[in-house]
Amino acid sequence: MALHRGNGLATIEYPTGMNQNGDPSQAWIKVKPDGRVDVFSGTSDIGNGSKTVQSQIVAETIGVPYDWITYDNSNTDSSPMCTGTFASRATFVAGNAVLKAARQVRERILAIAARELEIDPADLEVADGAVSVKGTPAKSMGVDEVAGAATFVHGELLTGDGAHLNPGAAIVDPESGEVDKPPHAAISYAACAATVEVDDETGDVRVLELTQVYDIGRAMNPTLVEGQIEGGAVMGLGFGVLETCYPYYPSVEHRGDGMNTYHVPTMSGLPEINNVLMENPSSGGPYGAKGIGEMANNGQPAAIANAIYDAVGVWISEFPITPERVLAALDAKREGGGEPRREGRVVAFDEELSISAATSAKSWGP
């Protein structure tokens, strides 16, 4: 048996927000008489952390402590419309909605405080749950006092609402694919390197290391974005070498019907995962955020495939890269095959997989 090591890389890009846009999010906020803040948003938290990140945006924007925020995304009666948690849109699009609502609340707080302190609101600022006069921090009142005054002295509700809709829905020219406006909220970029070990007798691939660099826009909560990237790395590992719903695709036979016949990645023998998070603030996201949750499993499969080529000199272009595919390719190579067709300046790989090889109904090829 021989184990062969190889390295490979891939670079990727991915849009934030629904393709072609047109996906609104809305939020509203009210302040209790003691200054505590209730946020109502319709954004589901699927583990990505939207409850946390949106609460952070609100606390930061209003200028109150994080633990003053109550975040309610529990139902559609109290929460306004949000298109949902998908397309890496929750932080960017829904985050912008709560940001706008929080700004309104902040303005209302300043307006009430200005009346209480008898000073121009423009000369006031809010931080750490207190409104103070710029340059004269001693002259201040707590946001709790402001909220109390609003409620019991001025007869007002401190509230705000916000909605975000990226400029219109992009219209596509059916001939050229040209769009009339950006079809995304932002774009993020990343690269991934993989180190693998290939058993040349069985085709078994072990991924030893994944190193990844992500343009994250801005880390709203570094720990949470790390969690997205680490989770994505292992899901990409699964896509790369383990998982398929149809092991004999296109056949539908012999599907894995449970956790012990469908190959889900596990904790044992995890590759070493190292990440570099690169801040490159977006122009339109809340505090420069981008959405990177979805792209996080896009780079590993190709990086692994390229590392396998580096290790043993075979290309795998059908996924996942199972031991059988690697071994079949190694066997073909040992028998002198597996090479692309080379003809003049044309190098044609994988022709046996092509649509032209399967049917004459669609002609295609170099």
């Binding site: 891939a10 670079t11 990727i12 890009e13 393709n19 047109g22 319709g42 589901s44 699927i46 946390t52 952070q56 139902n75 559609t76 009666d77 948690t85 998908f86 829905a169 059916p174 050229s176 694919g177 040209e178 079809p183 995304h184 774009i187 970029y189 690269a191 390197a193 190193t211 990844q212 660099v213 570094p222 949470l224 998982e243 719903c245 149809y246 296109p250 539908v252 019907d257 449970g258 469908y262 690169m278 979805e294 792209m295 996080a296 896009n298 780079g299 499969p301 190709a302 390229n306 080529y309 795998i316 272009s317 996924f319 300046r345 190098v347 994988d350 399967a358 109904a361 295609w364 090829g365």
Partner: protein, 456 residues
Amino acid sequence: MKVVGARLPRYDGVGHVTGRTTYVDDVRLPGMLHAAALRSPHHNARITHVDTGAAEAMAGVHAVLTHADVPLLVHGHLSGAGIPGDEPLLAKDYVRYRGQPIALVAADTVDIARAACAAIEVDYEELPALFDVRLAFDDDAPVVNDTFGNWYNKYEGDLDVRQIRKGDTEAAFDAADLIVSGVYRTQSQEQVPLETQVCVAVPEPDGRLTIHTCTQAMYFSLGVVCSHLQMPMSEVKMVGGTVGGGFGGKVDTASDPLTALAALKSGRPVKWRWTREEEMLASGNRGPWHMEIIDAVSSDGWILGRKMLTVHDAGAYGRFSVYGLTKHSFHHTGAYSIPNLHFDGYVVFTNRIPTTAMRGYGITGLATAIEVHAERVARELGMDPYEFRLKNANRVNDTSPNRIAYEDPSTVEVLQSLASATGSELSDELRAMSRDERSGDMLPDHLVAQIGSGGH
């Protein structure tokens, strides 16, 4: 800034680690019934006869739903985007994939509901099935989709192909020193959320419905439910927002509308939790993609042009596949600037589970194809993989396939950072590259025309 950027703990973290977080399956109500589905055993068949009499007569059975119970059987999830609906909530005349629901039973226990499903008589006339997307275009291919045929044919009205045409691809291929083609086939992947699809629907005394949902998109699902049930949004309260993993698979609203109908028909709260086997074998998963890429390349390592054919295996019904393919087309150059493009993409229907969103939707397979292809081209050129990628990487004001100027691309910096993190030596020339708008050596003649007017 103090709060944004801080390493704060999860808002719901304490609940998560102490067993206190309430997920949909943790909701329990007095008198709650349990549902089970009768699913198609066939990949493609005509339903000739359904008799629910024996099931309805069973003790403990409170509602048996078939297509006749659904006020609006077909709702288009993307009808707002002009994409017609094609998938019945419960199969009527045909089943087009194994696992397609035909009936739902609500009963006192899940065991009774399963037994009642087994007691429903269905006769089928089996039909030949289509599984290979490459054969969908053949004249004698079995017909899969009753609305669209074997591939989607309503792009921007009546086109049957999503296409991108940019620059002069023929000229680029004429000028190429090297033409490299490859075929990439990426697989179907199950989202495998630890929480399977689950719903609890509750008829309220005031006539409204409360739906405890695992959806990733409460308002989207509210729209789906209200459409199928033909009810105004005011009549339905979705309760959710706390989801045991989604990864795209819980945008489908797979369990809400039928559970709601069962609650209405029985007048009782109903829970429908899918088994892991149902989740694996009948829930929407990431679809397979068949991608053929041909690149025209110069000997000094520029990608002059790309022709690409994509055939997306959507499964039996459309769901979000058209959206996924359009997104795919918009990004088919990956992180590179390729000025001359010819892209044709098809959403093809096969007799497998309808595919749906999954993390990286439309692009995971694409990125895989593009990057293996890039590596092949670099190797054929005898060029360092970093150099090839850095050279072709998108720069500020380069334009995307659909002519949007890149505002803040960081591919160059990200690659440089990766090289540094992995101890890969880059030449001074490569280290000196930046994302800045192209000029000098980085602006060869073939890239001039694609420069945008946006940027910054």
